[in-house]
Symmetry: C2
Subunit: 477 residues, 2 copies
């Protein structure tokens, strides 16, 4: 009867998987519906969503300064109200409005509003100590569409390979599948706190070559998602040398650059900075680096703002990247404004500075406490081992599932880690993502959980998780 | 030296063209830069951008009610200020906030916020008199990404054909090129006010069949872009019959549904309504219809909000559409809120109703006046014919270029209509898009101009255009 059935959809779409918003979440939504009825069958009254790095959905408050600015940009007449806003906010809104022809409701330049790209370049320059050019900055509706645009430039057909870490953030595998390219996996070393070794990169590349693939690029996520490790400068230099030697473009996913909890011992270094510190020998190196307003202490996920810096990329290639953006007309102006606010927060001496500092420091410190608390707790459970999260928003514990649990999963026609995660959701109301959604070594099982529940709720989440886990292990012993 | 050069980019990207933000605009931006210097060489001091339907960049004011709501949603503390907002705005913001878990900064459901999808379905139901289901509504960052997602479902390879009108909005041709499908052009009849005839559809389909194409879908833009025609109910019934007979999915681009200037004689009908009025024989018909906050009197282009309704589409196909959305996480929340505001404006009796009515009517009436004024003026020029714009935001005049002008274009290595448009830009500072960016019958030449310059400026634009045109024609006589 129908012309458009699943059978006739492109294979690339059917093959793509995006577990972070997949099966577990859809099941969670159904349970949430059932929980609305008084005599539901669950031993909990609400699901805690730890499947996605979505801090404001879990009570993280937005930065006041950011929201004051956005309100004024949307409705400039508010500036007429006496004492409604700090003076620096009113000043800045006026200046920003002068830089956006037509205001928030006009299409902007497809690459992003000019003064914001300039401010991003200034931010990068200040962060790294090396020049950055506004013409190399492209704004997007979040980092994800930026990543997808770059992959569109790189992948021509199934022979084009993109190296990506396992475990990885599934945006990469899904986008590669949708473009019909080939993922070339390299494994992070769990026993070395998810470290990245060049030996592993070499052997992964060699295997891809033996399959006839033409490997074009390498993806590095630093700090790691879902794995939370922070790279050292020395490790990053080796990655750059590896790419240069093997003619690979480097994609550096640096959206968690503010979520680093080891600032004293292992600070964040951008790949741009490390690259430039390696001197003129590498001046032609090709790097795309990504950042976002969704993470850090900003946490403005729903507003969709992100950017990329195209380092060492030919002008005619950037022209094609611009064309891809122009088909979507422009990134949303609110997301663009938030990028400006993130890269140019209030400065010492400005009226908003103390509150901004208090709020952003408060969020950062709390994230750091929760990271430590949750990973330690998970690591203490029987049959669970969990690395310390040096950065990002996630714990990625390994669970040693008993053979009977693996068999029960098989009987239920599920992957073992999915079986564990679905059981956790149905029995304890905690929504996490099975490790198979990110990739893991064969025969090992993990899950990813955020450490974003508010501190007051964290004990409850750990309590639910711990009790569930112990029961589960006992049941399948 | 470089690994990523234009030569090695995917052919599909190099082939895609998006003229609305292409060559002319980039040239215009360069001239705008030069205009900043005091002794520039141009006989004008500012470029008027008529290349894109971007009303707020040309002084159209946003609807106050919409912006008040957005400001309050971004910064709810503003509700505490006495008398800062009308009471209905405060009430509504509070209710909306209750429907968005985590507020504007949290990722929403990938398909869009639930209560907004419900309101969209109610709006469609009220508009058409037939049921609409919130599960069939998908929200996007504008209508464009919605169109692209549906085309991703339809196009598997270069054998899959999509019928599209010529002239068309280049989003379609660019997206089909990027997906490596085949455009199957059908021509609108300029001498019948850009009418659509089933005979032309039949012959276009037959030609595609003779090329071995498997035609999967038909795109209709109503009101037309760039051509401005409004379809009659009878004409739409024939299109639906044609699709049903030939097993085609219908894509109805209805983003200009509020921009109809012939409401008494030729009102807008949605394809959903016409389809349902045709009875149960067509209950399995497959239709995607698109709408946007960028057009109408809303004109909030930069905020990026749009939706589609998937009518008669299988659940497992909708599940794949959801998956495509989930890879991008969610549409931006401001754009989503604007969709809610567009489909559920203030009602009679509410405090904001009078101002809302005054503003929206004012914009509509002014657009209607400008449409008539500009098309009549263009039609009056020697060597120009221009149809009446029944709807949308554009005039699409035909210019009878003298052979000497065609030769001069050839000598300059340009298409004749591009040569005309570049000359218009450089000599008179008016930025339009050549007809070749939309498609036109061989040997005919057009350009698209919006009628969006403010009324006070319209005379100046027409003056510049008229003088340029007469000089150009004299020069190449």
């Amino acid at each position: 009867m129908k012309n458009l059935t699943r059978d006739v959809l492109p294979e690339r779409i059917k093959k793509a998987e995006y577990a972070v918003r997949g099966e577990l979440v859809l099941r969670g939504e159904k349970i949430s519906q059932e929980l609305l009825s008084q005599n539901h069958k669950y031993p909990f009254d609400e699901i805690v969503y730890c499947n996605i790095g979505n801090p404001q959905s879990l009570e993280q408050r937005p930065i006041t300064y950011f929201r004051q600015l956005l309100a004024l940009m949307q409705y400039p007449d508010l500036a007429k109200l006496p004492n409604a806003f700090p003076t620096d906010v009113v000043e800045r809104a006026k200046k920003s409005a002068a830089g956006i022809k037509g205001g928030m409701g006009a299409y902007s330049h497809s690459q992003g509003i000019a003064f914001i790209r300039k401010n991003v370049a200034d931010f990068i320059e200040k962060r790294d100590g090396y020049p950055s050019n506004p013409d190399d900055i492209f704004l997007y509706n979040g980092a994800s569409p930026g990543v997808q645009s770059v992959l569109r430039l790189l992948i021509r057909n199934e022979k084009d390979g993109i190296m990506l870490p396992i475990p990885q953030y599934p945006l990469y595998s899904a986008s590669i599948a949708l473009l019909e390219g080939s993922a070339v996996p390299y494994y992070l070393n769990e026993s070395d706190n998810w470290g990245l070794s060049v030996e592993e990169l070499e052997s992964s590349l060699k295997e891809a070559q033996s399959k006839g693939l033409n490997t074009r690029a390498l993806v590095v996520i630093n700090p790691g998602n879902p794995t939370g490790q922070v790279l050292t400068k020395e490790g990053m230099e080796k990655v750059i040398e590896f790419c240069a030697k093997n003619k690979l473009v480097l994609l550096a996913d640096e959206v968690y650059q503010e979520n680093v909890y080891t600032k004293e011992t292992k600070p964040f270094h951008s790949f741009k900075k490390v690259l430039r510190s390696m001197g003129s020998e590498y001046e032609n190196f090709e790097l795309f680096s990504f950042h976002s307003v969704s993470k850090g202490f900003v946490g403005e996920c729903g507003q969709r703002g992100g950017y990329l810096e195209a380092v060492g990329i030919n002008d005619d290639v950037k022209a094609e990247l611009y064309k891809l953006s122009s088909v979507d007309l422009c990134p949303n102006t609110t997301g663009q404004m938030l990028i400006d606010l993130m890269v140019r927060p209030p400065q010492k001496g400005e009226e908003s500075y103390p509150l901004y500092t208090e709020e952003s420091q408060g969020i950062y410190n709390s994230l750091k406490r929760r990271a430590e608390k949750l990973t330690k707790f998970l690591d203490s459970l029987d049959g669970v081992s969990c690395n310390n999260a040096e950065g990002a928003m996630y714990a990625f514990p390994q669970i040693k599932l008993p053979p009977k649990a693996v068999q029960a999963a098989k009987d239920a026609n599920m992957k073992p880690d999915t079986f564990y995660a679905i059981s956790l959701l149905e029995e304890a109301g905690v929504c996490v993502v099975p490790g198979s959604g990110f990739g893991q070594k064969d025969g090992t099982f993990h899950f990813r959980t955020t450490f974003l529940p508010p501190e007051a709720k964290m004990d409850q989440v750990m309590d639910r998780l711990g009790k569930f886990h112990n029961n589960f292990m006992k049941k399948y012993q």
